[in-house]
Amino acid sequence: MRVAESVSPLARDGPSWRYRRSTRQVLRMSAVHLALVATGFLFLLPLLWMVSTSLKSLTQQAAWPPEWIPQPFVWRNYPDAAAFLPLARYTLNSLTITVLFVIGTLLSCPLIAYAFARIRFPGRDFLFIVLIATIMLPGVVRLIPTYLMFRQLGFLNTYLPMVLPAFFGSPLFIFLLRQYFRTFPEELADAARMDGASEIGILYRIFMPMSGPALAVITIFAVQSQWNDFVDPLIYLNKERMRTLAVGLYYFRAYQDTTNWGQMMAAATMMTAPILILFALFQRYFIQGVALTGMKG
């Protein structure tokens, strides 16, 4: 419990007149910093190792003790891995699914969230509880019937099983947006109604333009979920050329005869890079979004 003790928020500004305590505090804060630097390093090490390996030759990968700096830099791992995957094709597939999913999400979720947030009608509160319950439903329960349904509809080897549900709204995104809409003053919608604005007009002319951050959050979540999704593309797409990056990366491992870790890490790096770039650009929304999901209803 020492860690816990040392970092209670009030540790911030101890009264300076108590000299002994403030020395203790300095020591303590240094210890916290040191511990965090060490653990933070530990968390980032695997990523550095991924990139380092991706640039190594076959012989250097097996070096013992392991070497951090590639000698020589084998840039070829990247084009070789890309050709093996084939990366361009899989990226296009993943992108197609991701973009369509995002479009579906942005078309459906604001509409649904608006009704939950700002239109009063009987049954709304009950349905909202249903919505929350579906967030917690273990997804695996619907795996088989959904598969059978899409198979029956002739959707196997199409992107529809991944994309179509987005057009019917995702419970978590609806919930997040609804929470956001609820922070706008009630009078905002009421005043617009007095002026004769329709509900659609209020949503698209007033609420949506004010909801940039929330829309950014759900867009980022949607991109992440589809870019990373493994199970759905695995069961719905059997044709090799239709595979997504995630599934392709998996087969990359299964198909290689001798494991070339350099190439595999190059492929993993190429799949991770877009998400990291997205994070670098929109860090704020990533963090805010995750923080929001922890909010109670």
Partner: protein, 310 residues
């Protein structure tokens, strides 16, 4: 005069304001309602029904009553193995990720130099695509030339063949998951930052020690967040799949054959969809029961401000 003979605008005008609102509300909700029926309610009912059937890939489903359930509970020797593996994983990964995520958040909630940098360092691993992360860890766990065993070697320890030994494969899978605690950490951090400072100030004036303030203010006020994460964590961990599927395919000796992986095999490799549905229904009941237990227990440990909105 019946409604259908009216023009839409006249009909709209005749509706009262309350009815208009109701109509619009359901209109706006309609995509979700359709989705709820098609992608949630129908599958739940269907998976229940399919559990009573024998259903191969091309054949027609035939009713066999409780046979699937009888087979699972009495003849299926792997069922208990897979249930045990899953419970082992849940029991290890949920508490560990909660404690580590929470402690990291508490540490980051102090006045730090480079707080954003730390936050980023802990958070970034959680957004690495799962398949990429698992492949990376397969490489890190390499018994001869892996970085993890090298680190253990430096400490004078003999690193095990992580993914090749039944007793080490499960911990290895747990460790892979722990790399992603950053997501939970952010949620805790947000919770910690929403605790009103004046509570701490008042407690300090009353002479409460830091330890006491942590136990009497921080912990109680964080219980709703902890509760939420506990529920989500339990539900998620019961469905552990991708790590095991990519890293070990359930081996060695079925030591990482987790429940969903087992279900996947029946459903999509052996195409015994009825049997897999029965397995799914059992998992559903199990998770539901556990969730209910946690919810019930919450009244005794989750603190809700009185007079608050809940």
């Amino acid at each position: 005069m019946s409604v259908s003979t009216l023009s839409p605008s006249a009909w709209w005008a005749r509706l009262g304001q309350a009815r208009r609102r109701t109509f619009l509300g359901y209109l706006f909700l309609s995509p979700w309602l359709v989705g709820l029926l098609a992608f949630t309610l129908f599958p739940i009912l269907a998976v229940f029904g399919l559990g009573f059937m024998e259903y191969g890939i091309f054949g027609r489903p035939t009713w066999i009553g409780l046979q699937n359930y009888r087979d699972i509970l009495t003849n299926d020797r792997l069922f208990l193995t897979t249930l045990g593996n899953t419970l082992y994983f849940v029991a290890l990964s949920v508490p560990l990720s909660t404690v580590i995520g929470f402690l990291l958040a508490v540490a980051l909630n102090t006045r730090l130099i480079g707080q954003t940098l730390f936050r980023t360092a802990f958070y970034v691993p959680s957004i690495v695509p799962q398949v990429a992360a698992v492949l990376l860890f397969v490489w890190l766990f390499h018994p001869q030339i892996g970085l993890i065993n090298f680190a253990l070697d430096l400490l004078g320890l003999d690193g095990p063949n992580w993914l090749g030994r039944p007793q080490w494969a499960k911990p290895a899978i747990v460790i892979m998951g722990l790399w992603g605690v950053g997501g939970g950490m952010i949620i805790y951090l947000a919770g910690l930052q929403s605790i009103p400072q004046h509570l701490y100030e008042a407690a300090e004036i009353d002479g409460a020690t830091e330890m006491r303030r942590f136990l009497m203010i921080t912990i109680p006020l964080m219980t709703p967040t902890l509760f939420y994460n506990l529920i989500i964590g339990i539900i998620g961990s019961f469905q552990v799949f991708v790590t095991a599927y990519v890293a070990t395919q359930g081996g060695p000796l079925n030591s990482t054959l987790f429940y969903v992986l087992y279900l996947y095999r029946y459903g999509f490799e052996e195409f015994r969809l009825g049997y897999a549905s029965a397995l799914a229904w059992i998992l559903f009941l199990l998770v539901l029961a556990l969730t209910v237990v946690v919810f019930r227990s919450s009244s005794s440990w989750v603190y809700y401000e009185s007079g608050g909105e809940r």
